[in-house]
């Protein structure tokens, strides 16, 4: 177990990128994009634990992201709660909710599970849209600035360091988890549920556990997002946003934590790059998505790792 095992190297590389980026980013817009990458990446690291390692697909995680965002928005905005308390309440509530729905939903497999999670996400998004008196409806609602004991991160630079630190922690914890008894149990559930249970793994328990963990991470990121942007709409909880998260995970490479980061980065930055194509933006986005998945079906990072291994036998 040398120091330079891949996961340590990966964390160091991530830390290096985070440290160097501020010297490169010319203005607040670039910071904004990178911050959004970071927030999306936190969701994806969690979702990847569920999809990539646990083998359970979810097309409804934007629902949890949206709930987290609205918990923060409503509790701080309407009820004047301190942001940290609102964030924690959101995370706990989403944790409880996901725990309640996990047992029946995770009984489903494959496409049926996809349908179940999709339905759950859509119900959340419909509620956020319809409860205009609480959520402001489809036009959204403003969110007060984040503040801890009077300190307010107002500039993009400050937010950058906050999000970067939280992302580092998420990645570190995720890597810990993967390389642990819990992580092995998860991967074994993905590999073969019967074999896992015969080996003593309580399959249902670990499925629920990771579903709740990923939901709480999504809720947490949602709260963060709400305070950072200062304005949220129910789109955050929409089906399409869920699809976006899953696409990030799959594009970057399932069962690869750094893949999730790459996926989040690409799908967040790509629309900014594609604006040059004007009317062909959407067409190009679809084509790139298809092309990447056809030619790198394991996702970017695992495919490139394979390629590197083959090139250097």
């Amino acid at each position: 177990m040398g120091f330079w095992q891949p996961r340590r190297a990966g964390i160091l590389a991530l830390a290096a990128v985070i440290a160097v980026l501020p010297a490169v980013l010319p203005n607040a817009f670039y910071y904004d994009v990178v911050i959004l990458v970071g927030i999306n990446a936190i969701v994806c690291v969690g979702l990847n634990l569920l999809i990539g390692y646990g083998g359970q697909i979810s097309l409804g995680h934007a629902g949890f992201f949206g709930l987290g965002a609205y918990f923060s928005a409503v509790l701080t905005g309407t009820y004047d709660w301190p942001p940290l308390a609102a964030l924690a309440t959101g995370a706990v509530s989403v944790g409880v909710l996901s725990f309640i729905v996990a047992r029946p939903i995770l009984k489903l497999k494959g496409h049926y599970l996809a349908m179940g999670t999709l339905g759950m996400g859509i119900i959340i998004s419909i509620a956020l849209n319809q409860e205009v008196d609480i959520t402001g409806g489809p036009d959204g609602m403003p969110v007060p600035a984040f503040a801890i004991a009077g300190w307010e991160p107002s500039s993009e630079q400050t937010w950058y360091w906050i999000v970067a630190a939280l992302l580092m922690i998420s990645v570190w914890l995720a890597l810990n988890l993967i390389d642990s008894p819990v992580g092995r149990a998860l991967r074994s559930v993905h590999g073969s549920e019967v074999a896992a249970s015969v080996a003593g793994v309580d399959v249902t328990r670990y499925k629920i556990l990771i579903f709740v963990v990923s939901a709480v991470m999504a809720s947490f990121a949602g709260s963060l997002y709400a305070h950072y942007t200062g304005f949220i709409t129910p789109d955050e909880a929409s089906f399409f946003h869920s699809i976006e998260f899953v696409t990030m995970v799959v594009l970057g490479g399932m069962a690869s934590t750094f893949g999730s980061l790459v996926g989040a980065a690409i799908l967040t930055i790509l629309p900014q790059l594609l604006t040059v194509l004007h009317d062909f933006e959407m067409l190009a986005f679809g084509a790139i998505l298809m092309g990447t998945m056809i030619f790198m079906r394991k996702g970017l990072v695992p495919s490139l790792v394979d390629l590197a291994k083959r090139a250097r036998p």
């Binding site: 914890l173 819990v182 092995r184 074994s188 019967v194 074999a195 015969v198 080996a199």
Partner: protein, 256 residues
Amino acid sequence: MTLLRVEDLHKTFGGVGAIQDLTFSINPGTIHSIIGPNGAGKTTLFNLITGLYEPTRGRIHFNDADITGQPPHVLARHGLSRTFQNLQIFLNMSAMDNVMVGYHLRCDGRFLPSLFRFPSVVRKDAEYRERAAALMAFVGLEDYVAADASAMPYGALKRLEIARALAVQPKMLLLDEPAAGLNPSETLAIDGLIQKVAGRGVTVVLVEHDMRLVWAVSDHILVLDHGRKLAEGTGPEVRSNPDVVAAYLGEGGRDR
């Protein structure tokens, strides 16, 4: 003194009885075989004993505890483990991690210790990794300690499954056709491995089509036909049982 006692076991699928009126018991420390023609209910019986199916009626006792209807991961705690007719390898993991999953119950499976990599977790993992390597060597997989499961040949995967099942440290190990798909020399090696496993004091229960293997290793044989017990006894007893000869061996046998 019995290790496993099956009483009046029934299992029906959509009204069709797959296992009927089955009562038998298994003593510790021996190699038992369950034989019978295709569709006799051998794998169904395995699935019932290891908790993958719930019996329609009847009871199963293991090590003096009633384990009827318990899920597999609880049975693993009781000391029951098995392999599968259709390989159930975790192809998304390394060979070593496959065996490590077998040690799941020995490791700390709680969330927080794993999340923060408590020193105790790290220490135990290291310890069991050594044990896993030893176990892999025991089943003859010393060359695959660093391999990914998806890169291993079929014969090695069969052994890997046995290693994983042994990692559970079972009192009783159920092997579902360990020789299926293997060539004669590999079968011979599996034969040796089964005896080695039994030598460690693990009670082995075997479902096998390869009669030569069955006769060679079994201390005790249970013959199933259409989900019912046809005969029971030592090898020579079963061989000379007229019902067995008529119903099973009479059909030309499966002496490959």
